[in-house]
């Protein structure tokens, strides 16, 4: 076997071992080394050169990146997730004809969809969705994300939160927590617009908190501009008072008419 490839596989084993030990620092270090080593292979994207070990290298690289993605979920680093996912993606899309499909593919795709949902990047979410085949859409991982999005769009926030119980995979938990927060932010944003104030209990119900304390905690951390007075939550509306300008229609009409009169007189 190619010594370079051997080195990579060896390192990869160490990485997996570290993962199993949940030794995050070692994982990150090894992963970084692995990525650098991978740049040495010309069979990998974006070059896709046909080398004798191409299939093997591609599979290995895909494995590495899949682990990288999962690692990033584990440590809750969304940026790293995004980076690693994009680097993984060509293996699913462009190299799909040459590689046996990966068992983790749909799970990771679903994760990505979820991430987009969490980050409230709905446009990209749909772009990604369009790129998937119909069989992929049937996959429970994907389906879960799609249903979530539908509920999210409908405003059925309770359904979103309850979906947490039905996650197809443990790794989804991280994003589901985040999603709950996203949903809450969304609700908070709407209530701000819709109401001048709300009683604390109503607000608690509205924001789907189980206790008043949780609500107070939330307000303190996320919405410092809300005020709590005498059992009421008062939303600050002052900032959006920028009124739209009125069109001086009467003046304009008068002016136009006088122009027309003058024109007629000239002719």
């Amino acid at each position: 076997m190619d010594p370079k490839l051997a080195e990579v596989s060896q390192l990869f084993e160490r990485f997996k071992a570290a993962c199993a030990r949940e030794d995050v620092d070692t994982c990150c270090n090894v992963l970084s080394k692995l990525k650098v080593l991978l740049t040495g292979f010309s069979s990998l994207p974006p070059l896709f050169e046909d080398t004798p070990n191409a299939i093997h290298e591609l599979t290995l690289a895909r494995d590495i990146y899949e682990h990288a993605v999962l690692l990033s979920v584990k440590i809750g680093d969304q940026d790293a997730f995004e980076r690693d996912f994009f680097q993984l993606k060509p293996y699913y899309t462009d190299a799909s004809s040459r590689l046996p499909p990966s068992s983790q593919e749909y799970m990771i795709l679903g994760l990505n969809l979820l991430r987009l949902l969490v980050q409230n990047r709905i446009a990209e979410f749909h772009t990604e969705l369009e790129l998937l085949s119909s069989t992929a859409l049937e996959n429970p991982c994907i389906k879960h994300a799609v249903e979530l999005e539908q509920s999210f769009m409908e405003g059925a926030y309770n359904r979103v939160l309850s979906a947490k119980q039905t996650v197809p995979c443990k790794t989804y938990d991280y994003f589901m927590d985040l999603l709950a927060k996203t949903v809450r932010d969304e609700i908070a944003g709407c209530s701000e617009k819709a109401y001048g104030y709300l009683s604390v209990s109503d607000a608690r119900q509205m924001l789907l908190f189980s206790s008043d304390n949780e609500l107070l905690q939330y307000i303190k951390e996320e919405q410092p501009e809300w005020e709590i007075k005498t059992g009421q939550v008062i939303f600050q509306k002052a900032k959006e008072s920028a009124s739209c300008k009125e069109i001086p229609s009467l003046q304009l009409i008068n002016q136009t008419l006088s122009y027309a009169r003058e024109l007629e007189r000239i002719v």
Partner: protein, 1007 residues
């Protein structure tokens, strides 16, 4: 297995965000490879890559790579400025030899940028251009690459544009065809280099390169030197050639001289001539005999010889030298010839002979005009005289005047002035006998008795016209006449004459004489003096202009101001940017007349440059000035600025020609007339056509004249509208109810249409694309006829004969044939008019009968002459027959050929041949030039492959006796033709100059 293609740059962009620098490098490297495909995706991440470029800690090479990627993305986004600045950051990674859209686009951008920076720096007179050295490096790499790849023209273009003369020189010297590249470069520098100073630098460089060549192209060098105004260089080249033992070199020298003469730069030519060194053993007398003032009582013979001091003096010298060193003798002999050429005498003489012998003017047209013009209408009467003068310009044929002395005598006052001056146009270039011709009208010394001041003034003006631009012999006389009179009419004539004769010589003494005439503050004399000062100082940009401007502010007379305004404009002729201060001063003046002069200054300073700034300025004045005169002139001036690109003019003035303001329309018509003169350009004709039936009379006048200028020398075969136009002219002239103005226009137009016996055209550019000073100045003053009709005669300065005149070593015209590869009918003379069957059938027959009889007689005479010539030729040949019979036979065959072709146009039934054999000297109209071919088996080979003008012929069989065509024919034909009019023969003058056509005998009309 099919190659897998990557479908998105997302992975690479994600990799850029990795923390490890090696990953970033990898990503950048691959992005650079795929940027052409994925630039839309990458464009969103440009800020990220930019930050990589600016990251100081990053590896240098990687930073450049980042810059390159960003540059490419910006290029695709269409933001070339940013793209360029990043490409500069990429430094050596930006590969000029790469064949991609990106590189091409950016290179173009870089060169543009560099060129504009350079020229801006030079325009603001900064010592060193503040140019990014990296930008310079890119341009230099590009230039080097062009030179390496053998794309020399490209390299030269870029080098000129970027003002990199060092690179230009390198490109030229390293090219494989240096002569080709050099001539290309000369063309480019004239067509595309706008600033005069810079053009001079380029040309100086070219001259240097030329001189380093093993076999220099002297013709081109001398043209460049002339533009640079360096007579020493030309003189030394000419001398070297003349001193060479090879006859061909001498021929080349003659050819150079002729080419220089064509540009009509009198002061320069005189300078060259005076710098040619004198043969060693020669006495000082031949250097420059001062023109002596001949006594009026002297006989004609001696007067003639005195008038030509050059030929006279040098012929004496050759006689004395011949006994000394043979080399020196040869040199002296050649020197004599070349001096003759440089002084313009040789070419003028030959032109005169050509115009005389080929004169095809149609007297019937004049006769028709004369009859239809009302007796008492003096405008049309003098217009007819003008038309006659223009029609016969330079042909010395004054039959019409002689036949109509009675009619002529109706001209009084100023009409008489111009009638007399008209003789000058007819005898233009008749240097030897000009004085004797005009003697009856000239002021008679101190006695003052004789003629009226009008004819005397006119005669002085006529002398100026005869000697225009070659006034060495006549200057003194004109000065004396100016000083000895205080009649303003005579002063007027003398001033004009002096200005013409001493055109562009910047002679201080003459200037002072004219100035004193100006300071008499007489309107009539002052106007002429103003113009004359300008003529004298043409193109010198001398300090005198401010003096003239001051006086223009002082005087009360509009005429004087106008004369001075034009004069000032003339002084800045061709100075381009140098004239800007003066132009600014004039165009901002309160006085509309001075602003009007400013327009002329713009026109003349930027003549033929098509300079955008000048055009913009003129257009601005054409629509914004309050004075009609200024607006008219501004539009007219466009014609001068654009004459080097006649195709442009109709487009530029087409809107103005539809202006509501008739003055602007008039200006538009003349602008087209001036810039498209002699081209017969179809667009020009289409633009002028509606104007010839304008509602305003003077617009019609202008349009008719302009149309004639455009159509000069065209016949119906090449454009059917010519025939229509001729008929239109006839109709206007015959129409009793037509306005005087347009009638005058029509009469003048018929004159211009058949100018110079149908053998001249209006040409403002010489064949080497240099401007012809005299011609441009002539047209500029001509356009003044709006205010002063006698100035119409200035148009004769812009006439140049459309002839091929081949000359042998002795500067004689040998028999030589060449081919014109086009149907003869395309370029033949317009058919002579026949019996007009339209109106007044009762009145006309008598007139027609007499002329047709005359025409017949003339035809007969011509036939006789031809026969004579044939006989002479045959005789000459038979004398040589003994020596070489075989050759004789072949040349006889040739004779037969030419005869056959000559007679072909008469036989209508035969299909027209597709070519025509022309015999030296031949009429070759400008449009015909591209069809001219020289025969390979001919006895003579041209030194320069020029289709028209003066061409020196190398004799390939020098041992055989030569058959001369022009001189031979003349010696036998002169007597009947010259004598027919006057009926008497000047035997004395015939002795004086053998090969000259006879001067018609002086005649006098009773006033």
């Amino acid at each position: 297995m099919a190659a897998t293609m990557v479908s998105s740059a997302g992975a690479l962009l994600a990799m850029l965000n990795e923390t490890h620098p090696q990953l970033k490098q990898h990503a950048l490297y691959n992005l650079n490879k795929f940027v052409d495909q994925f630039w839309p995706e990458i464009s969103t991440s440009v800020p990220l890559i930019e930050s990589l470029y600016e990251d100081e800690e990053f590896d240098q090479h990687q930073r450049q790579l980042a810059a390159l990627v960003v540059s490419k993305v910006f290029c695709y986004l269409g933001d070339l400025n940013d793209s360029l600045s990043y490409a500069l950051g990429a430094d050596s990674l930006f590969d000029v030899s790469e064949d991609s859209d990106y590189v091409h686009t950016l290179l173009a951008k870089a060169i543009d940028e560099y060129a504009s920076l350079k020229s801006k720096a030079i325009e603001s007179n900064a010592e060193e251009a503040n140019v990014d050295p990296r930008l310079e490096a890119i341009v230099e790499r590009m230039l080097d690459k062009c030179i390496m790849d053998g794309k020399y023209q490209q390299a030269m273009g870029i080098a000129i544009e970027c003002r990199r003369l060092d690179k230009l020189e390198e490109a030229i010297t390293r090219s494989d065809n240096i002569h080709g590249t050099l001539s290309y470069c000369i063309n480019v520098s004239h067509a595309f280099v706008n600033r005069r100073e810079y053009r001079r630098e380029v040309l100086r460089l070219l001259v240097n390169v030329y001189q380093k060549l093993p076999s220099p192209d002297y013709l081109s060098i001398c043209q460049c030197l002339m533009f640079l105004d360096e007579p020493e260089g030309v003189a030394s080249i000419l001398e070297k050639l003349l001193r060479s033992g090879n006859k061909d070199d001498a021929l080349l020298a003659f050819q150079i001289a002729f080419d220089l003469v064509e540009n009509e730069h009198q002061a320069f030519l005189l300078n060259v001539r005076d710098r040619l060194s004198v043969p060693k053993s020669q006495s000082s007398e031949s250097v420059q005999p001062k023109p002596s003032d001949p006594e009026p009582t002297q006989n004609e013979n001696s007067t003639a010889s005195e008038d030509v001091p050059m030929t006279e003096g040098s012929s004496v010298s050759t006689a004395t030298v011949q006994e000394t060193d043979p080399n020196e003798a040869i040199y002296a002999e050649r020197l004599t010839k070349i001096r003759g050429i440089l002084s313009g005498e040789t070419s003028i003489q030959l032109t005169l002979q050509f115009l005389y012998s080929h004169n095809k003017s149609d007297l019937l047209i004049l006769k028709t005009i004369k009859q239809s013009v009302e007796m008492r209408n003096s405008v049309c009467h003098s217009a007819t005289i003008y038309a006659n003068a223009i029609m016969h310009a330079g042909t010395t044929v004054d039959t019409f005047l002689r036949e109509n002395l009675d009619w002529l005598s109706r001209a009084t006052n100023w009409a008489k002035f111009s009638a007399t001056a008209g003789l000058g146009v007819i005898h233009r270039g008749h240097l030897q006998q000009g004085r004797s011709l005009m003697r009856p009208y000239l002021p008679q010394g101190g006695s003052g008795g004789g003629g009226s001041p009008y004819s005397e003034g006119g005669a002085l003006y006529a002398l100026g016209l005869i000697h225009a631009n070659h006034g060495e012999g006549i200057k003194q006389f004109l000065r004396d006449s100016l000083r000895s009179t205080n009649v303003e009419v005579i002063q007027h004539g003398a001033c004009l004459g002096l200005g013409l004769a001493a055109l562009g010589t910047a002679d201080e003494d003459i200037y002072d004489d004219i100035k004193s005439a100006l300071y008499t503050d007489s309107a009539v004399a002052g106007e002429a003096a103003g113009i004359s000062m300008g003529l004298l100082m043409v193109g010198t940009a001398s300090e005198k202009a401010s003096e003239m401007l001051t006086y223009a502010h002082e005087t009360q007379h509009e005429k004087i101001i106008r004369g001075l305004a034009l004069g000032i404009a003339l002084t800045v002729y061709g100075r381009e940017e140098e004239a800007d201060t003066l132009i600014e001063q004039m165009t901002r003046d309160q006085d509309p007349i001075l602003r009007y002069g400013g327009m002329y200054a713009l026109a003349l300073a930027y003549r033929g440059t098509a300079n955008n700034k000048a055009i913009r300025q003129l257009l601005h004045f054409a629509v914004s000035d309050v004075s009609d005169d200024v607006r008219r002139t501004a539009v007219l001036a466009l014609g001068f600025v654009l004459y080097s690109e006649p195709e442009q003019t109709p487009r530029i003035v087409s809107l103005l020609s539809e202006s509501y303001n008739p003055h602007v329309r008039y200006g538009a018509a003349l602008a087209v007339g001036i810039s498209c003169a002699g081209t017969g350009l179809s667009e020009a004709i289409s633009l002028l056509e509606p104007l010839t039936s304008d509602v305003v009379d003077f617009v019609r006048q202008g349009a008719l004249i302009a149309m004639a200028m455009v159509m000069v020398q065209m016949n119906e075969a090449s454009d059917s509208r010519v025939g229509t136009f001729r008929r239109q002219l006839e109709k206007i002239i015959l129409d009793k109810h037509e306005d005087t103005m347009s009638k005058m226009g029509a009469i003048l137009a018929s004159g211009i249409l058949d100018a110079g016996g149908r053998n001249v055209t209006i040409r403002l550019l010489s064949k080497t694309k240099h401007d012809k000073v005299t011609a441009v100045v002539g047209l500029a003053v001509f356009s003044q006829f709006w205010y002063w009709y006698p100035l119409i005669y200035f148009i004769s300065l812009s006439f140049s004969p459309t002839a091929f005149i081949g000359l042998n070593y002795d500067l004689k015209v040998p028999k030589f044939e060449f081919i014109s590869n086009a149907k003869p009918s395309l370029f033949e003379y317009p058919k002579p008019t026949t019996v007009p069957t339209t109106t007044s059938a009762v009145k006309l027959p008598t007139a027609v009968l007499s002329t047709s009889a005359k025409a017949k007689a003339r035809a007969k005479k011509e036939a006789e002459q031809k026969a004579n010539a044939e006989k002479a030729a045959a005789a000459a040949e038979s004398s040589s027959a003994a020596a070489n019979t075989g050759k004789d036979k072949s040349s006889n065959e040739k004779d037969g050929d030419s005869m056959q072709v000559d007679s072909q146009p008469e036989k209508k039934a035969e299909p027209e041949p597709s070519f025509e054999i022309l015999t030296n000297p031949a009429r070759v109209v400008p449009a015909q030039e591209k069809f001219i071919k020289f025969m390979e088996d001919s006895r003579y080979a041209p030194v320069k492959l020029a289709p028209s003008g003066f061409v020196l012929l190398r004799d390939l069989q020098p041992t055989e006796p030569e058959v001369l065509s022009l001189t031979d024919a003349l010696s036998s034909t002169v007597s009947p033709a010259g004598g027919s009019a006057a009926g008497q023969q000047g035997s004395a003058s015939a002795m004086a100059v053998d090969e000259e056509p006879q001067p018609p005998q002086p005649f006098e009309y009773t006033s």
